[in-house]
């Protein structure tokens, strides 16, 4: 093999892409006669952050809930490629497999941290729970890991044994993120992760999420109505309206050169300070 061939070989290897982590095909969900979300198609690649934006009632949360198995979609397919490179159709999996995936491979960050935390057990135990659920049985290691994560989300480790009930909203949200990421999931769903926080706290949280996502290389699907959040975090954007995806592309492209009238409206509605 000469040098040129060697370069070509490595090149083809480099071009040859990993399969997408998640492939969603024709996903539909109706609430009675009303459309929740319809005909959703997209791919999510490893390490990619996908933003889903749109106004309230546009079907963003419905889509996220369908993907994270909180509600059952009416039709469509969700293909997931696991860490062994095997592709499974998520909706056809038996419930035990689904729950195992949700517990070990996937994570969900709720808009309201109270939905995702156990408020009456200590912060350390909140982080440790997912570890214990995946079989960790060494108290010292669990605790060390929990404190390490508290540190990573900028919560003072002397709050390890305090209940999240006594935490501020921003701290609760950061704790929820630590609790979700501690098992190093491959795919994280975030529903309005900065909702209900004041702007300075939002900014720090966004920095934190961006850093962690980058460090861990997890794939993310972030639902938000806040285009600033989308611009900061997402590589690609999906704009939803009335249950359908109306525009789809790289974040900068969608935000700087919106094509669909609704996206144009959305982008122009941001207050320029």
């Amino acid at each position: 093999m000469n040098a040129l061939q060697a370069i070509q070989a490595t090149n083809t290897q480099r071009i040859d892409p990993e399969p997408p982590l998640l492939r969603v095909r024709n996903l539909n969900k109706h609430y009675g006669r009303n459309l929740g979300c319809g005909n959703i198609n997209f791919d999510l690649w490893p390490g990619e952050v996908l933003g889903i934006v749109g106004e309230s009632g546009s079907g963003k949360s419905t889509l996220l809930n369908c993907l994270s198995a909180k509600i059952e979609a009416d039709s469509g397919e969700i293909f997931y490629t696991d860490q062994h490179g095997e592709t499974v159709e998520f909706r056809a999996l038996p419930e035990s497999h689904k729950r195992k995936l949700l517990r070990e491979d996937w994570g969900l960050v709720h808009q309201n941290p109270r939905d995702g935390l156990r408020l009456r057990v200590s912060a350390g135990a909140n982080i440790g729970e997912r570890l214990m659920a995946t079989g960790a049985r060494h108290y010292g290691n669990i605790r060390l890991n929990a404190m390490n994560w508290l540190d990573r989300v900028e919560i003072d480790t002397n709050r390890t044994d305090d209940m999240p009930l006594r935490f501020s909203g921003g701290m609760q949200q950061r704790l929820q993120i630590a609790r979700t990421l501690v098992t190093q999931p491959r795919l994280v769903f975030m529903d309005e992760p900065t909702g209900g926080l004041d702007v300075s706290v939002q900014a720090r949280l966004l920095d934190l999420i961006r850093r962690l996502v980058d460090e861990l290389g997890v794939s993310c699907i972030i639902v938000t109505h806040d285009l600033a959040v989308a611009r900061l975090l997402a590589h690609r954007l999906m704009v939803m309206k009335d249950g359908h995806v109306v525009e789809h592309g790289l974040t900068d492209q969608v935000l700087d050169d919106p094509h669909h009238p609704y996206t144009q409206l959305l982008v122009s509605s941001i207050l320029q300070v």
Partner: protein, 299 residues
Amino acid sequence: MTYAPHEESGYNFAYLDEQTKRMIRRAILKAVTIPGYQVPFAGREMPLPYGWGTGGIQVTAAILGQTDILKVIDQGADDTTNAVSIRRFFEKTSGVRTTLKTTEATVIQTRHRIPECPLGEAQILVYQVPIPEPLRWMEARESETRKMHAMAEYGVMHVKLYEDIAHMGQIVRSYDYPVRVNDRYIMTPSPIPKFDNPKLDNMPALQLFGAGREKRIYAVPPYTKVVSLDFEDHPFEIQSWDQGCALCGANDSYLDEVIMDDAGGRMMVCSDTDYCEQRREAGHIGPMAAPYENTEAAQ
């Protein structure tokens, strides 16, 4: 025909009607085949309030035969209100022989203790259970706890233990200590002290658990593996005392603290009254045993 007091009482043998007993026996059989699994059953209204042992009584009534010898204990004692009432209930409605001796009994209904004296294959231990669901503390929804059992998702059980160690430096849970049965189901052993947990493991006797309010029956068949939950670096431990029983001197039994006066006087005595009595009859004497017992034992 021999004298049968239950006929005079006007009730069917052992209070429950035969169809109800068959229903409960079916639940028991299912429970025995799936160790640690909570089997729902159509619990009946019993002539005593929930929380006083309605579940245990129904199980006992369903398994009791005319030749059985029944012992009832409450916190280890044969002479407390609950034990006396339930023993009298079955004397009246079934006419079976009752006993205070652990070794003599074929069916032992218990609240909060396992007898100190090891049980044999010919014996059945019936527990009264207030809350049969070990996951209830972490998860309030029954639909969810059932799924967690079905899929053996038991990570949350350790969260409670973690909390104990984080706040107190050790696992402080001292009774109703969760166990894993036959490497599968997590089970609450009813509020027995954790001192008794090792006795659950590999016991020759059949163990049946009845929860009346929650209408659940579960079982540990003879010679079944029962492991108390713990952490690798905080292994399961049972209670220990720095003194023996004040009456019989036993160092191997579960001790109750009895306050003697207003000046701080106290004594530690066996909670298992039968065990204590047997030992004293055999001549074992503790530091606070009554003097006349010495002479009795000597005679």
